[in-house]
Amino acid sequence: MKNTAPTSAEGLEQPGAGPLAAQVREISKIYGTGDAEVIALDHVTVGIPKSRFTAIMGPSGSGKSTLMHCMAGLDSIDSGQVFLGDVELSRLDDKRLTRLRRDKVGFVFQAFNLVPTLTALENITLPMDIAGRKPDTNWLDHVIDTVGLRPRLKHRPSELSGGQQQRVACARALAGRPEIIFADEPTGNLDSRSGAEILSFLRNSVQEMGQTIVMVTHDPAAAAYSDEVLFLTDGRIVDQMVEPTAEKVLERMKGFDLPGVTAS
């Protein structure tokens, strides 16, 4: 866990933005070889500002999920550097990466967010239980009340609706006070009302709790909840938009709607 190059981050800070929670420098990711070669990420450099809600958008196969996975330490990169705070991920072995995810990162996935054998409460405290840490009860109560799950804490995932399950996932992500939360299409499987609930909830946690959130989505309406949108096409950042609205995002997306390469 060497703190390698504290100066290297400075050149990346975008004018007007605050300190960065995460940043990637010149990262590339290639799947397959020869004819089957697919460039998922092509020398991407980007910073995620602290206490902001950043959305990553792009057509299917643009590399947006891959970018998020690389930033979160779930996937390896072929070249470049990834920093979470001031820790460079590519230098960490699996054990340290696991500990980093457990202690500093929160996740909300599109589906299958919860361990089916554990109750809602057990799912929320899972990362802390694994670490053997006692949860901060005041904070935990606050989070549970904010997502409105108190009456359902003893239920198992199969007894919860899709929206409730995603709220449990959000609560889990928040409960450990991670430095950054990654959300991968968190509303992709929800009806619009439940989706709106989750998105406002994420939005509020940024505004009120100062949480940093990165969300991958292809839904302009979801992107509209964010502070800033990064547009990705063919593995490259092609544009960014501050204070987006659904209409503006949709308009911009039309321009990128080219037949994309399919990268899984």
């Binding site: 696991t98 995810r101 089916p116 239980d129 694994i130 992709g188």
Partner: protein
């Protein structure tokens, strides 16, 4: 089209099906190995006997007046006088007459150890030129102190020509010069020692007597010669043809082999039965995992029957592949067994292949796979087409109440059959017992999902506290699919149930024998032989002369016909027996004279014998005599049910052999024991045991039996372990997403592996507990059923059983290694990626 689906599935799930096939392979290998091994043995014995007595046209021997018991190796035929040979030589058509002498003789090697194996006999005989064997080197033995020994035994004993060798006999040990090496071919562990005829008669039989006399024909057909010879014979002697003699020899071996075959086959079939649980479980899991795919097939128009057939087709594939590999593995197993039994001489290798193992392998392997896969395939057919469109689908499950009903009924019915089988009911009580035990296993397996919840809650109750979240997840995972957990545990249950039942019976037997010895063994020392067939009473006479010895009694055992029915009797000096066996008379006296018989109370009651009753009896030498019931004694485990006058026994026995000696000394202790041992210097095969050593040696013998059965059951336990591996591996695949999620939120590889290991341990321990529960019940039932035959104490070997529970846990731990490793290596991204 559906065939294509079946084939594609078989190739798509190679690894899963390979593990399933493995459970078929192991069981089938045992079955096939049994047949190949016994067929090969049978062939070798045929070859061996083809050479024996090939020149013999007619064999003349004493008639068998009393059938010998099936477990007795000593022939109950009395010898024939040597003078008869001269008479036979005069019969027209007889070219040559050969008198045979046979008995017990073994070689004591240079290292002082007797060359002998358990089972195959140590044969002593008179050397006959032109007989069954040839001299390989040296010459035939002549005179009272020369011996010829077979090649393999020479090698094992470490002797060369001209060496002085000690020969162990039923009488005093002799030191003789080795003058010849006998070429015998493969004897499978039997040893051959030959003397000249006079010496053989003196050492092995009785001077002036032969066991039988063989006639070589000068050209007359053997039946003709037999009839001619028969006319000249006295009434108690018979003549049979050479072919009939060889068939008798073969029949004896065939009986032994078919017993061995049935024994091994039973354990092979147990292994196959265990495999059935694994197959059932795997197919259930495969069907569950493919619910959507099967629903899609239904949605696009496949009929229920087609879906069933697609799954059964897969089972057929697994069965055929498994049986084929099992058959091949059986060849290896048979070769291994043969190497184990081989005495290292030429011709001891080479397997015989018949069509029987092939038929059995495929019949057993394919049938069991199809039966086991039938229920999962039926369930597959019940998947509604709409399931293809749904996200979370569960297979239709039967109600627990119905399960409880069926399970209890099967268990109770099976238990009833077990009890009936032990009570010797019906024509085939052992078969009844076997079916009953099988039904109990299936019944408990059906009940196991209901039992699993409370048991695993308790077992896994400490997990969260000891192992944190991985522990809790492990417990919940073991609980989440009770049917799967139960089927996996049930496979392990079977092997452990049988092992624990054997252990319960064993420890009960040890306890019961121990108490009998304490209560009824009054002698200070017992003298027993390590070799088969008894020993010369001269040994006991020698002990009687030793300083400090008050009394030494030789005990004889034999068979007589009483009222035309065979009865086994004990005999010996009454004063010694009364004290040594703490004989308690209920009526009559122990003064037996020349015709007295004592019976125990049970025998008296069941035959309605009273003191003074006279019984017509016939002895092994053919003589008939009236026996008088002189007295009735209290049931005695040392003596058994009948005691015959020593005088009568000796009068009718050509070469009396003691099976045991009882010694009373003035002051028991090391000195007196050494004195007794000193008197037995010439009998290195005889052991002097005090009361606690008697108990110990019984225990040792019984322990050997337990070890033997445990080894035979090991295959079943290995198959069950494969089942645990299979279940866990499939569970890991099934929970790919969940494992990915756990990894994403920070569960380390090590924690993940621990989670899977603990799940496996709790399932395995559950199986072990079920097995031990059934085993204890079964063992207790056997003990109870045999209580009146001396097995009157029930003792549960708690420590041993606890060891088996721990062993169950260790098996679970080991079985989880590979699945846990796989889960740990799983790609986090693949695991959480949404399609």
């Amino acid at each position: 089209m559906m065939t294509k689906v079946t084939l594609r599935n078989l190739t798509a799930h190679k690894l899963r099906l390979a593990l399933t096939a493995l459970s078929v392979v192991l069981g089938v290998a045992m079955v096939a190995g049994t047949f190949i091994f016994t067929d090969s043995m049978s062939k070798q014995f045929d070859d061996l006997f083809a050479g024996i007595g090939k020149n013999v046209a007619v064999d003349v021997r004493a008639k068998q007046a009393v059938q010998s018991g099936s477990d007795e190796q000593v022939s109950s035929r009395p010898p024939v006088p040597a003078a008869l040979a001269d008479e036979l030589r005069k019969v027209e058509g007889v070219k040559d007459v050969v008198g045979n002498v046979g008995g017990y003789a073994a070689v004591i090697g240079k290292n002082g150890k007797t060359v002998a194996t358990l089972g195959p006999p140590q044969m002593g005989m008179n050397w006959v030129n032109g007989g069954d064997y040839d001299i390989q080197s040296g010459r035939a033995p002549q005179g009272p102190s020369e011996v010829a020994i077979d090649e393999a035994t020479m090698k094992k004993a470490g002797y060369g020509l001209g060496d002085r060798a000690r020969i162990l006999l039923q009488g005093p040990t002799q030191t003789m010069t080795v003058v010849g090496v006998i070429k015998t071919g493969n004897m499978m562990g039997a040893t051959v020692t030959a003397f000249d005829t006079a010496t053989a008669q003196r050492l092995l039989l009785k001077p002036g007597y032969f066991n039988d006399i063989q006639l070589v024909s000068s050209g007359v057909g053997e039946t003709v010669l037999r009839d001619r010879v028969a006319r000249t014979l006295p009434g108690d002697v018979e003549a049979i043809t050479g072919s009939a003699l060889r068939d008798e020899l073969k029949d004896d071996i065939q009986q032994l082999l078919s017993f061995l075959q049935v024994l091994l086959l039973v354990f092979g079939l147990i292994a196959v039965f265990v495999g059935a649980f694994i197959i059932f479980n795997t197919f259930s899991m495969l069907v569950a995992q493919r619910t959507r795919e099967l629903a899609l097939l239904r949605a696009i128009g496949a009929s229920r029957r087609q879906v069933t057939r697609a799954v059964m087709g897969e089972a057929l594939g697994v069965g055929i592949v498994g049986s084929t590999i099992g058959l091949l593995a059986g060849v290896g197993l048979a070769a291994g067994l043969q190497a184990l039994m081989s005495d290292g001489s030429e011709g001891s290798t080479g397997l015989t292949f018949t069509v029987t193992p092939v038929i059995w392998s495929y019949a057993v392997g394919v049938t069991i796979t199809l039966i086991s896969a039938y229920f999962p395939s039926r369930r597959a057919a019940k998947i509604a087409p709409v399931a293809a469109m749904r996200d979370d689908v569960a297979l239709p499950q039967r109600s627990l109440r119905r399960r409880a009903g069926i399970g209890s009924a099967l268990t109770v019915l099976g238990a009833g059959l077990v009890v009936a089988g032990i009570a010797d009911a019906g024509p085939e009580p052992l078969l009844l017992l076997g079916i009953g035990v099988g039904m109990v296993f299936i019944g408990v397996a059906v009940l196991a999902p209901i039992l699993s919840k409370p048991v695993i809650r308790v077992l896994g109750g400490v997990f969260p506290r000891l192992f944190g979240t991985p522990g809790r997840l492990a417990r919940e995972n073991a609980l989440r699919n009770p049917r799967r957990t139960a089927a996996t545990a049930s496979a392990l249950m079977i092997g452990l149930a049988l092992v624990s039942a054997i252990n319960v019976v064993n420890s009960s037997a040890v306890a019961s024998i121990g108490r009998s010895v304490d209560r009824q063994f009054g002698a200070d020392y017992m003298i027993i032989s390590e070799t088969q067939g008894g020993f010369s009473p001269d040994a006991i006479k020698a002990v009687g002369q030793a300083p400090g010895v008050d009394q030494a009694t030789a005990m004889y055992v034999g068979n007589i016909n009483v009222n035309g029915k065979r009865a086994s009797v004990l005999s010996g000096d009454m004063a010694g027996i009364t004290e040594g066996a703490k004989l308690k008379m209920l009526s009559g006296s122990t003064d037996l004279g020349a015709d007295g018989l004592l019976v125990d109370e049970d025998t008296a009651k069941s035959n309605d014998y009273k003191v003074g009753s006279t019984l017509p009896a016939q002895f092994t030498d053919g003589a008939r005599q009236q026996l008088r019931v002189a007295g009735i004694y209290e049931k005695n485990d040392v003596i058994g049910s009948r005691l015959l006058s020593e005088q009568a026994y000796l009068a009718h026995t050509a070469k009396p052999l003691a099976f045991m000696g009882m010694v009373q000394v003035a002051t028991p202790g090391t000195a007196s024991k050494q004195a007794v041992e000193g008197a037995l210097r010439d009998y290195p095969n005889l052991q002097v045991q005090d009361r606690s050593e008697v108990k110990e040696s019984f225990q040792k013998q019984l322990d050997q039996v337990v070890v033997f059965f445990t080894i035979l059951l090991a295959m079943s336990i290995i198959i069950a372990a494969v089942g645990v591996i299979n279940t866990l591996a499939l569970s890991v695949v099934e929970r790919t997403r969940e494992i990915g999620l756990l990894r994403a939120v920070g569960v380390s590889r090590r924690q993940l592996r621990r989670m899977i290991r603990l799940e496996s341990v709790v399932i395995a321990v559950f199986g072990a507990l079920l097995g031990i529960g059934i085993g204890v019940a079964l063992g207790a039932a056997v003990q109870n059923g045999l209580a009146d035959q001396g097995l009157d104490i029930l003792k549960i070997p708690v420590v041993t059983l606890v060891v088996y529970v721990v062993l169950g846990g260790v098996i679970g731990m080991l079985a989880a290694l590979w699945p846990a490793w796989r889960a740990g290596r799983m790609d986090v991204l693949k695991a959480i990626a949404t399609e």
